[in-house]
């Protein structure tokens, strides 16, 4: 599958109004994020829906980062390969991304960079630079950024040079200021505004977006500067490019309130709603944003029930390492507090011993694991679904755990909420698997409905509740048919108990007696059977039927969901009917539903973002279904809907030749 523009589907949609993909790139620290969010916010203010993805290096300043914002008049939930309009203010963005611009699309750029030789773009890896030079030479082009632009132009791409420096000076003159250094920061706003002008969106949206973006800083001067930038950019674009418009455009639509949220925030909100009151963490990409969001909102309002002043809070502790993070959360959980910790692969590796202890002592605990490119430090800022088999088996020996996999922002919220319930109901660690692709993407969703989920505390013994005791010694690990014993918490009078990582008796004292061992192992593992029995199917899998008799059954989990659902729509337009089984609960594994769903299918394709198709292996082990066709992606870039479309077509055209398709898109 060659460059995006060479492929059959050059645009996902044939629609020209309110269906497009915009990209902005630049050096990290130069305001790319801010530009992207002001573009997205403008669209949302105009009633549209957005889906944005962020790509960056593990670096603070200087290396390349880019943001793609897809926008539409219906809700969207994945990325596409082609870009309709690329906004750049540096050379590297052009070199790296000009080739994904649609032949009918455009590039907004600074003409000052077009003379830059490719080899002077020193943040390109040497090999990358060489490859580009060879390609340009083959096309009979030079070896500078101008050649890249020429290459795009030959494909039909429209070029929109914007002399940012001149515009900044004009704004400075207009504002009567000489603070050029500070004014230079409005380049971001200029790039976004020129883009929006080319797309035909009224400047009022961008102005409101700027006001909202700077509302926290309370610096009127900053707001004025940026607003002046918006005006100048719009004037410039209308004047210079007025009649050279693009086929795609944006137009405001009527819409209600929507939540504009990133995955980290959706998880944080779900946790708070679900009763989490202690979160521990050690900083790690891409997990820490969640903890920082929680800390920023550590005081919050409770709905009144008249019993108090309605002040709620969450204590967030930044620990010395992930071992402390998990063990501190466990200590908190022993007091009856709903506690959680949040990390990524390297941190989870350190947490494993603690997780085993929580399993052994039946402590409710939620671990949010943001997967990123592994192994080792891997690719800290890139996405992957590589930790599934690790979390299913993590910790020595055998101990029960529930593993939930979220596929989108809504699921991030509800799963984070439910994870809190499952942990307490089944008295065990719950791992909530998300990934960088979700954590750092932003999306408009309808605000979640907290009324859809209840808080259930399972067999928690509350103060004053002496039902379980009846004058006898309290037995924390008393036998129970469902494996779940009434749970007292530290500090509860009359309910003394012991915990130990050693095998223990019903009181919690060390005991290596053979019968006791068998009894306790069974008790702990039985809880998974109980969970399997009790958890409703709708929380285990989601099934998306085909419109009519399916030609192909897609199986996946986690953040591949959005691209699959939208890829399916595209396939359908080509007459290929696909159904989709999304696995949401990886432990206890819903073997029966999965077997039932898949056993009738003629062609099953497993799609996931890791090297070895881990879920397919789990399905083979647990549900005894061998999935022959696998589409995998492990280059750290999120899967696009085009890739789903292309790979399924490829497999359907020549099933024998394409049992394993490796996806490669994304810069």
């Amino acid at each position: 599958m060659g460059p995006a523009w060479q492929r059959e589907v050059s645009r996902v949609s044939t629609k020209v109004v309110n269906e497009l993909n915009w990209m902005i790139g630049g050096a990290q620290g130069s305001g790319v994020d801010l530009s992207a969010s002001s573009f997205a916010r403008s669209c949302v203010l105009a009633g549209l829906w957005v889906y944005g993805t962020r790509e960056y290096y593990s670096n603070i300043k200087g290396l390349h980062s880019y943001f793609e914002i897809r926008t539409s008049d219906r809700q969207i939930r994945s990325k596409v390969d082609e870009v309709d309009l690329l906004a750049a203010f540096d050379a590297e963005t052009l070199v790296r991304h000009a080739d994904v611009v649609n032949p009918t699309g455009g590039i907004v750029y600074d003409p000052a960079v077009s003379q830059t030789p490719i080899e002077k773009v020193d943040t390109l890896y040497k090999d990358e630079a060489r490859q580009i030079q060879v390609r340009l030479a083959q096309e009979g082009l030079g070896s500078d950024v101008g050649a890249i632009l020429e290459e795009a132009k030959r494909r039909g791409v429209k070029l929109f040079p914007v002399p940012y420096g001149t515009l900044v000076q004009e704004v400075a003159k207009r504002l009567g200021t000489s603070e050029l250094a500070r004014l230079n920061r409005i380049i971001n706003v200029l790039a976004v505004s020129v883009s929006l002008s080319l797309l035909g969106l009224d400047r009022s949206y961008m102005k409101e977006s700027v006001r909202q973006a700077f509302s926290a800083s309370r610096k009127q001067k900053l707001v004025d500067m940026n607003l002046a930038g918006v005006d100048r950019a719009y004037e410039f674009a209308e004047e210079k490019f007025g009649e050279r418009g693009l086929p795609v455009s944006l137009a405001p639509i009527q819409n209600g309130p929507r939540m504009f949220v990133v995955g980290n925030q959706a998880v944080a909100l779900g946790k708070m709603a679900g009763g989490c009151r202690l979160q521990t963490y050690y900083p790690i990409t891409p997990a820490s944003d969640e903890s920082e969001f929680l800390e920023a909102h550590e005081n919050f309002a409770l709905l009144g029930d008249g019993s108090d002043d309605g002040k709620g809070s969450i204590v967030v502790v930044q620990t010395e390492d992930e071992i402390a993070a998990i063990t501190m959360a466990i200590g908190g959980a022993l007091t009856g507090t709903r506690a959680a910790t949040s990390t990524s692969g390297p941190g989870f590796s350190l947490m494993v011993e603690g997780m085993g202890w929580a399993g052994m002592n039946e402590v409710p605990l939620v671990i949010t694991l943001y997967q990123r490119g592994g192994p080792s430090t891997g690719m800290p800022t890139r996405t992957e679904q590589g930790d599934l088999k690790f979390v299913l088996n993590a910790s020595h020996g055998e101990s029960p755990r529930i593993v939930l996999c979220s596929g989108d922002m809504e699921e991030c919220f509800y799963d984070a909420f439910r994870a809190m319930n499952y942990a307490e109901r089944y008295q065990l660690p719950v791992i909530h698997l998300v990934d960088k692709g979700l954590a750092n993407s932003n999306m408009t969703i309808l605000p979640p409905d907290p009324k859809l989920v209840d808080i259930g505390r399972g067999k928690l013994i509350l103060a004053g509740d002496h039902g379980a005791l009846q004058g006898e010694e309290y037995r924390r690990f008393a036998p129970a048919e469902d494996g779940i014993s009434p749970r007292a918490v530290l500090g509860l009078k009359g309910y003394r108990f012991w915990n130990t990582g050693d095998e223990h008796d019903e009181l919690g004292h060390i005991n290596e007696n053979s019968e006791n061992r068998i009894k306790m192992m069974k008790k702990r593992m039985t809880k998974l059977e109980t969970a399997d029995r009790e958890i409703p199917t709708a929380e285990k899998v989601s099934f998306y039927p085909a419109k009519g008799r399916p030609d192909v059954t897609l199986v996946s989990w986690g953040s591949s969901k959005g691209a699959i659902l939208e890829g399916m729509e595209l396939l359908e337009r080509r007459g290929i009917k696909a159904e989709f089984l999304q696995i949401r609960l990886a432990s206890p594994f819903p073997a029966q539903v999965v077997r039932e769903r898949l056993s009738g299918s003629e062609l099953i394709v497993d799609i996931e973002q890791n090297y070895s198709a881990q879920m397919a292996a789990v399905i083979a082990e647990k549900a005894q279904i061998n999935i022959k066709h696998k589409v995998v992606k492990f280059n750290g870039r999120p899967i696009s809907l085009n890739e789903v479309y292309d790979s399924i077509r490829l497999i359907m055209a020549r099933p024998e030749a394409n049992e394993r398709v490796i996806l490669t898109h994304g810069a």
């Binding site: 309130p257 919050f300 959980a333 022993l334 007091t335 907290p450 004292h509």
Partner: protein
């Protein structure tokens, strides 16, 4: 109703080697609890992995036997979630100053209001006598194939550098001193360390009970042994850092702690080296940011409504994320 020693003991079989210093620590801890007459259900004891770790099973309070080296974060988590609890963490010297050394340092920085007692026996008892971080350079306890070539860590100095606000050392077989020190540590507002010199008759044949009590050096006049351990507070040393003290005074005290804590050999200091209650506890610092923590810490918060729905006013919480078209 006053507590009796039998109230704070379980009737489980104790499997420490006979003559182990751990017995002295256990007895002193239990006596301290009895004398303090605390409500037993508010007491939680955490321990690490090693011989010392079993102490929680012999003690009739909530007892959490954690992981090797992780006692402190477990204990801090419980205390921060429910500050009503009286939290005592117990560790071994390998456990606390070796594998758990990182946690040891960071617990000092936080100054959570709790007590940490370390069974300091110079060896890894439960794994059969390897050198612990407090074993002296060049020493070769019984089961070492070769002499120890690591320098010893000085827990008192380390605690001082890390920010512990109560730093003491005691001796497992000086019951009264240890019991009183534990009581003072528990009463202290902030993070308290009690490093306890603990003979391990099975593996440490250098720092033995006879060594600490000076049986090899009788007083020529009385023929009675002259103990090596001596109580610094009986020599007039005052550990307290007061508000009135100047920076210079505090510096002087710091230097004294360093000097005294490095004594070893013929004179081994025990006692409280340092106490400073002017440092805000971690709980105080949380209250600075979360005023409602005072009466509604995590463990005592309402999380659901009558109808089991979330108690959080979500629309208010996520207002900043809502955009209208």
């Amino acid at each position: 109703m006053a507590l009796k020693l039998t109230d704070v003991r379980t009737d489980l079989h104790n499997d420490w080697c006979s003559g182990c210093g751990d017995f002295g620590i256990e007895a002193s801890l239990q006596m301290a609890l009895t004398e303090m007459n605390v409500e037993l259900h508010r007491v939680v004891i955490f321990s690490g992995i090693g011989c010392h770790g079993k102490i929680v099973h012999w003690t009739n309070t909530f007892g959490i036997h954690t992981l090797h080296g992780r006692t402190l974060p477990f204990a801090q988590g419980a205390k921060l979630a429910n500050p009503e609890l009286e939290v005592v963490a117990i560790g071994g010297d390998g456990d606390g100053y070796g594998i758990g050394a990182g946690h040891f340092v960071h617990a000092g920085r936080r100054n959570v209001d709790m007590t940490y007692i370390v069974h300091d026996n110079g060896v890894y008892g439960l794994t059969k006598g390897q050198a612990s971080p407090t074993q002296k350079l060049g020493e070769q306890t019984k089961s070492l194939p070769q002499p120890n070539i690591n320098s010893a860590v000085n827990p008192i100095m380390l605690a001082l550098a890390a920010g512990y606000t109560f730093i003491a050392r005691s001796y497992a077989f000086d019951n009264r001193h240890l019991k009183d020190t534990i009581k003072r540590a528990v009463a202290h507002r902030g993070m308290a360390l009690v490093d306890v010199l603990q003979p391990c008759p099975t593996y440490n044949d250098i720092e033995t009970k006879a060594f600490y009590s000076g049986e090899d050096r009788p007083d020529p006049a009385t023929h009675r042994p002259v103990p090596r351990v001596y109580d610094i507070e009986k020599t007039g040393y005052k550990p307290l850092v007061t508000k009135e003290m100047t920076n210079e005074d505090v510096d002087k005290k710091t230097l004294e702690v360093i000097r005294i804590s490095n004594e070893w050999g013929d004179r081994i200091p025990i006692g409280v080296f340092y106490q400073n209650e002017n440092v805000p506890t971690y709980e105080d610092r949380i209250i600075g940011r979360i005023p409602s923590y005072v009466d509604r810490p995590p463990a005592i918060q309402r999380i659901q409504l009558e109808n089991n729905k979330s108690a959080v006013d979500l629309p208010r919480l996520w207002k900043e994320l809502i955009i209208s078209g």
